[in-house]
């Protein structure tokens, strides 16, 4: 966990209202895992007051001029939804940004093997691309399927990037049918489930809007397929101290209900443990 000011080297609009930003932050990148996030202070004033959490989208190598050294950088992908992200979008390369991270528990691949399915809704691609990069290094994973859902064609993000990461198949669903399947990403998941032998090791990783995650949780729990999903919640501290970001969970072992902190115990949780309100 590190906190300090880092330099922005890229901040560009990649789709209408969606930006990618590269931060020269080797202190954070070195320890970062897929599913973790950084907590960003968007300005020096007190409005907005709190930091904004953004998932680690990619860790990319930057070659330094001197001594052909390489340093890892952090890339984030964000949508402009309110004042904090609007201020971020106005930053220029060369400016500084105060970040804190890496925070949270990532996807924790552990001893994953066999078939892996990544399902992303909208901005949900952000942490899943980092995960896809990690999965590529997992020798026991045979096939990786990627399902991307978006409102419309222009907002389908990272499709090529996932393909480049040697996913077996990248499927796209859009609400308006302007690209790929017309309908929900979860329809595609259901269909995929019907073509796979779920008795063989299969794991699902999901990130996206709450409605989608709820449905993914229902589907995977019903089929007994292990599924880990990344949640979002309003955050205060981001480090587990304020208890502001909790989600209601039921222990898979004991059945005991309690609150867990999205920032520290998550943001990645087992689909089965989440109690949806």
């Amino acid at each position: 966990m590190w906190q300090g000011r880092v330099k922005i080297s890229v901040n560009e609009e990649v789709a209408p209202g969606y930006f990618r930003m590269v931060l020269n932050a080797p202190q954070v990148a070195e320890d970062a895992e897929a599913g973790q996030f950084i907590h960003i202070r968007v300005n020096d004033e007190y409005d907005p007051l709190l930091r904004r959490p953004l998932s680690i989208h990619r860790i990319i190598s930057r070659r330094l001029k001197v001594k052909s050294l390489k340093l890892p950088d952090i890339e984030v992908l964000y949508e402009v939804v309110g004042k904090g992200t609007k201020i971020l979008a106005g930053k220029r390369p060369g400016e500084d940004l105060d970040i804190l991270g890496p925070l949270g528990n990532g996807f924790k691949l552990g001893c994953v093997s066999g078939t892996v399915i990544l399902i992303a809704g909208g901005m949900g691609v952000a942490p899943l691309l980092a995960l896809a990069e990690e999965i590529r290094r997992e020798e026991k994973v045979k096939d990786t399927y990627v399902i991307i859902g978006a409102r419309t064609k222009a907002l389908v993000l990272c499709e090529d990037a996932f393909r480049d990461l040697a996913a077996k198949e990248v499927q796209v669903a859009t609400d308006d049918g302007s690209r790929g399947y017309k309908g929900l990403a979860t329809d595609l998941l259901q269909e995929l489930f019907s073509t796979l032998n779920l008795k063989l090791s299969t794991t699902v990783y999901a990130c996206g809007p709450e409605g989608m995650l709820r449905e993914v949780a229902a589907l995977t729990v019903a089929k007994g397929v292990p599924c880990r999903m990344s949640l979002e919640n309003r955050m205060g501290c981001g480090v587990g101290a304020c208890l502001g970001c909790v989600v209601r969970v039921k222990s898979l072992q004991s059945g005991v209900e309690s609150y867990k902190r999205v920032c520290k115990d998550g943001p990645v949780f087992e689909a089965g443990e989440i109690i949806w309100e």
């Binding site: 966990m1 906190q3 202070r41 007190y46 409005d47 907005p48 007051l49 709190l50 930091r51 105060d98 804190l100 919640n233 309003r234 955050m235 205060g236 501290c237 981001g238 480090v239 587990g240 101290a241 304020c242 208890l243 502001g244 970001c245 909790v246 989600v247 209601r248 309690s258 609150y259 520290k264 309100e277």
Partner: protein
């Protein structure tokens, strides 16, 4: 200036190397921040409020940002006294930093029992009675909004503990001085002020409050003027050392509180924005003293008395 200015203070017998502590509920039990800053450089650490039994707290959403502030309705989620003593205290004892335990309860009985059990505990430097938490209601106003109830509660706790007893005041009152006086009369050794202001934020999409608990406690820079006014009012009328808090983000903010009459300050919401805030604030105070050629931080609180 020849010598370094003195920044150590004494609050109700608790000796602090610098006048900056972290405010209850904003720093957990220290564990989460231990990676980010050296806890042994804090003036004191005030633990997250504990109750006799564990409490799960309020359903989320529990926090919402407001202009230059935030509302929280955590609702006293905490591990309870027993687990605190077994699992949290040992960690906190490792640092050479006074630990002040923030005590919450629904009934006087609860406060008294907690105070009794903490009285002879190694590693506990003092108690802070949170009589002002707006997020738990037990039939009407909380203790800290009425002088009589305050006096009774503080007296009850005073009877069972020799530890320095700090009472944390609520700003949601007509006359904060009368509450401070009641605490003093009942034997308190110090006062913390302010706790959060009661507020609401509304989600115009759902047409409901943003917090499940409806109301929450407002903290952060937005409330700093109210906090400074409260400290100044109480400092002029009550003869107890004051821990000032409410919106402190920088050393300059802290100096405002010290000038208004506080002996020490606590940093709350700022920890979320800048995890290093408490130490930065302490450093800012030291720099202010040096630049202004002031030898002792304890001389600052005399200024407010002359306004």
């Amino acid at each position: 200036m020849k010598s370094e200015p003195n920044i150590s203070v004494d609050i109700a017998g608790i000796k602090m190397r610098c006048p900056v502590m972290v405010a209850s509920g904003t720093f957990g039990y220290g564990e989460e921040y231990a990676d980010l800053l050296d806890l042994s450089r804090l003036g004191a650490l005030v633990a997250k409020g504990i109750t006799l039994n564990p409490r799960q707290g309020n359903p989320p959403p529990r926090i919402v940002e407001t202009p230059a502030g935030m509302l929280n309705a955590i609702g006293w989620e905490n591990v309870g006294l027993q687990v605190f003593l077994e699992e949290k205290l040992p960690f906190l004892k490792r640092f050479n930093t006074p630990l002040i335990v923030n005590v919450c309860g629904k009934k006087e009985e609860e406060y008294v029992q907690i105070a009794e059990r903490l009285d002879d505990r190694e590693g506990v430097a003092g108690l802070e009675l949170n009589i002002s938490c707006p997020n738990v209601r037990s039939g009407g106003l909380s203790f800290g909004r009425e002088a009589g109830a305050t006096q009774k509660l503080v007296a009850g706790v005073r009877r069972v503990t020799k530890l320095p007893l700090i009472v944390k005041l609520s700003p949601n009152v007509t006359d904060i001085v009368s509450i401070g006086r009641a605490a003093q009369d009942a034997g308190a050794d110090g006062l913390s002020l302010i706790n959060t202001l009661v507020g609401i934020a509304v989600d115009i999409k759902t047409k409901r409050p943003k917090l499940t608990n409806i109301t929450g406690g407002l903290s952060g820079p937005a409330i700093k003027p109210v906090a400074l006014r409260s400290v100044w009012e109480v400092a002029g009328k009550v003869d107890l050392p004051i821990i000032g808090m409410g919106g402190i983000m920088t050393g300059e903010d802290a100096v405002e509180f010290l000038l208004a009459g506080a002996t020490a300050v606590a940093v709350g919401t700022a920890n979320f924005v800048n995890p290093h805030a408490a130490l930065d604030v302490a450093e800012g105070i030291r720099e202010y003293l040096e630049e202004n050629k002031i030898q002792d931080v304890n001389s600052l609180r005399e200024y407010g008395k002359k306004w």
